[in-house]
């Protein structure tokens, strides 16, 4: 029995606990009373009725059909989807950038190492809002559509944003996405089932079959590519990434990429150098040694901090307000709040969204880490 501060003071009786909880409950009740009194005094409404009322404002960018006559509940869905979309795209871009920079920081070439270090230190030590404002200023300082920079005839950069070629699908995009997801899930299930049966199975074959299925789905749905082309004061066709989204995506990827580079560097350093040396002694090229031997081992160390960086990116995407990208905070936590005046309800729902996503992802990664640790011990 260790009788230190933590064990003694932290373990008084049930009575003291109950008294403490009572105090907290009394505080909450008093707060609730104050709020109701204040709301009544100001003649402000409360409750969630406003969710069913028409919003009456437009949203510049939406993944699902939306019009001003739609409800505030729909605004929430549009905002949440916009947040998730920019976070997902940011996660992909930041991971690519971070892995490249992290590997470059361990390069044998001094100059490559120095360049990667310069990027990481510059991006990590300046505030994200400033980076966002700088990127936004850069985007809006690009030439107008008529003098747009052509990207090899495939896309354009102008002060109206970035225009890229986009695939055209014969079926609605959600159907294509759902089919691909189904293929991935079935493959994952089959691989896990094989692993659980103990025979080891042939995971590589299963994964190849899954990839083939995804490719087949995409080939069946593929109808052509829509290229952007100048039209009037803008462009027509292709995929349009407007300045707010472009700036937000670029700044988030640059900023988080630097942190991911540090995670990758730490993960690679955690793998003994003997591993790479042994792999090369067996005849693997340095690149093969990195991708087949070192990286898979580093991944185990890297995943938890990586996920925490992804969560930071999700939270930082709320800086969309700064450049005017309509994410959840800007739409539901901004315009809806201003129109209905129901600050507690709107900000509460926004908070619930972020905390739910954060907790779900942390729970997933904790479960994953627990399994890894179980497997690590034979």
């Amino acid at each position: 029995m260790w009788r230190t501060f933590r064990s003694r003071v932290m373990q008084p009786g049930v009575l003291a606990q109950a008294a403490g909880m009572g105090c907290v409950a009394a505080l909450l009740l008093w707060a609730a009373h104050t709020v109701t009194a204040n709301l009544q005094a100001r003649g402000m409404a409360s409750g969630f009725d406003f969710l069913g009322r028409p919003a009456g404002f437009d949203i510049a960018f939406s993944l699902i059909p939306y019009g001003p006559t739609d409800t505030h509940a729909r605004v929430f869905a549009v905002g949440a989807l916009n947040t998730l979309a920019v976070a997902a795209a940011g996660v992909v871009l930041a991971t690519i950038l971070g892995v490249l920079a992290g590997v470059a920081r361990r390069s044998q070439t001094v100059v490559v190492r120095a360049l990667a270090a310069a990027y990481v230190e510059a991006a990590r030590n300046t505030p994200l809002p400033i980076q966002l404002l700088v990127v936004y200023a850069l985007v809006t300082a690009a030439p107008p559509p008529r003098a747009a920079l052509a990207l090899g005839g495939l896309g354009f950069v102008s002060n109206r944003g970035l225009y890229l070629p986009a695939p055209v699908w014969a079926w609605p995009a959600p159907v294509v996405a759902a089919l691909c997801l189904a293929c991935v899930l079935v493959t994952a299930w089959a691989v896990r089932r094989g692993a659980r049966r103990g025979a080891g199975g042939r995971p590589l074959r299963l994964v190849a079959a899954g990839a083939l299925a995804v490719l087949l789905v995409l080939a069946a749905a593929f109808e052509g590519v829509s290229l952007p082309r100048p039209q009037g004061f803008g462009f027509e066709g292709g995929l349009e990434v407007g300045p707010p989204l472009l700036a937000l995506l670029a700044a988030l990827s640059l900023y988080t990429g630097a942190y991911i580079a540090e995670v990758v560097r730490g993960g690679l350093a955690a793998v003994g150098r003997g591993q790479a040396e042994a792999a090369q002694a067996l005849g693997l090229t340095p690149l093969q040694a990195l991708t087949l031997v070192v990286f898979p081992q580093a991944l185990r160390v890297m995943v938890p901090p990586l996920v925490s960086q992804y969560l930071n990116l999700l939270k930082n995407s709320s800086l969309a307000v700064v450049v005017g990208y309509p994410d959840l905070v800007a739409t539901f936590g901004g315009t809806t709040l201003n129109q209905t005046g129901q600050a507690i309800e709107t900000l509460g729902l926004v908070l619930v969204f972020y905390v739910t996503v954060s907790l779900a992802l942390s729970a997933a990664v904790n479960a994953w880490a627990a399994r890894q640790n179980r497997w690590a011990r034979p």
């Binding site: 260790w2 009788r3 230190t4 501060f5 933590r6 064990s7 003694r8 932290m10 373990q11 008084p12 606990q17 109950a18 403490g20 907290v24 707060a31 104050t34 709020v35 204040n38 709301l39 005094a41 390069s107 044998q108 070439t109 001094v110 100059v111 490559v112 190492r113 360049l115 510059a122 990590r124 030590n125 300046t126 505030p127 809002p129 400033i130 980076q131 404002l133 700088v134 200023a137 003994g272 150098r273 003997g274 969560l311 939270k315 709320s318 800086l319 307000v321 700064v322 905070v329 709040l337 600050a343 507690i344 900000l347 926004v350 908070l351 972020y354 905390v355 996503v357 954060s358 907790l359």
Partner: protein, 350 residues
Amino acid sequence: MSVVSAIRPSPRAPARRLGVADLAALALLLALAVWLGPPLVRWALLDATWFGESRAACRAGGACWAILTSRWNQIVAGFYPADHLWRVAVAALCLLAGVAPAFRPRGLAILPLAAPLGVIAACAVMGGAGLLPRAPTDYWGGFFLNLLIGLGASIFALPLGILLALGRLSRLPAVKGLSLALIEVVRGAPLIVLLFAASVVAPLFAPGGLTPDKLMRTLVVITFFEAAYMAEAVRGGLMAVPRGQGEAARALGLGIVRAFVLVELPQALRIAMPALMNSFIGLFKDTTLIYVIGLLDVTGVLRNAVTDFAWQGLETEAYIFVALLFWSLCFGLSRWSARLERRLSTDREG
């Protein structure tokens, strides 16, 4: 371990050699420097205009640093009355003195006691009480506001974070549950949402039509935000201190509280130091966000400047200044923190 790897200075340091790739990359860098360097120097220094009353006074083709010099007082302290700026200096010194112990390895233990210095700083700037003329917080701003919120919130957040960490480690379900809920909700939420809450929701909770000052509300919210992150860092430190330390201190006759404060906590803070420092650097960078809720920190002051007709279109100069300002401070802090970490780890081994 083989002989070859044993004689290398550190297992992490890759072998240094200048190969063909190095020379090629170096040549490329040199070419880039020769191409971009001179125009950049000409723009930033040679052709730049340093003083002037509006953009019209600036030479074309050069940087217009006049936007910074003409509004220097605002950049430093917002709209604080010019003849009372010494009070701002006193407050800044108090705040720096408050965190100064962190810059000594042995000073960590007294760091949580620095809170009174934060209060003195606040009194010095705020004035009132018949001694100094009151300067309402509407006048506070500029880089001083970033410093005040960054350092002030950290000074108050550390004791709070220690309490939260203890609460989370507690075996009492009630205490543990409450601490855990607070930490997870705050850490799961974006700061901007909490700032909005401070600006719109908090007044609703004030009794009797009393509205606490906006800056104070922001400071309280940021303190809680930082405390949640610090709590996780401190918890990691507390869990890494061997139990025997507390038990040994008790066996030597120290009281429960003294054993914790004098023996366990300092070691925990020492272990948590790098994480605490990272979280402080993050918070300091985040203070540039408060302009979103209308507080005029250095970003807010400069954004006002570039939307002013006289200075329109000088975003480049303004943002370069803020970026360099924060970069130099944060880079210096992170370097220093890495050095301290190395020194502490050798201390522990020795």
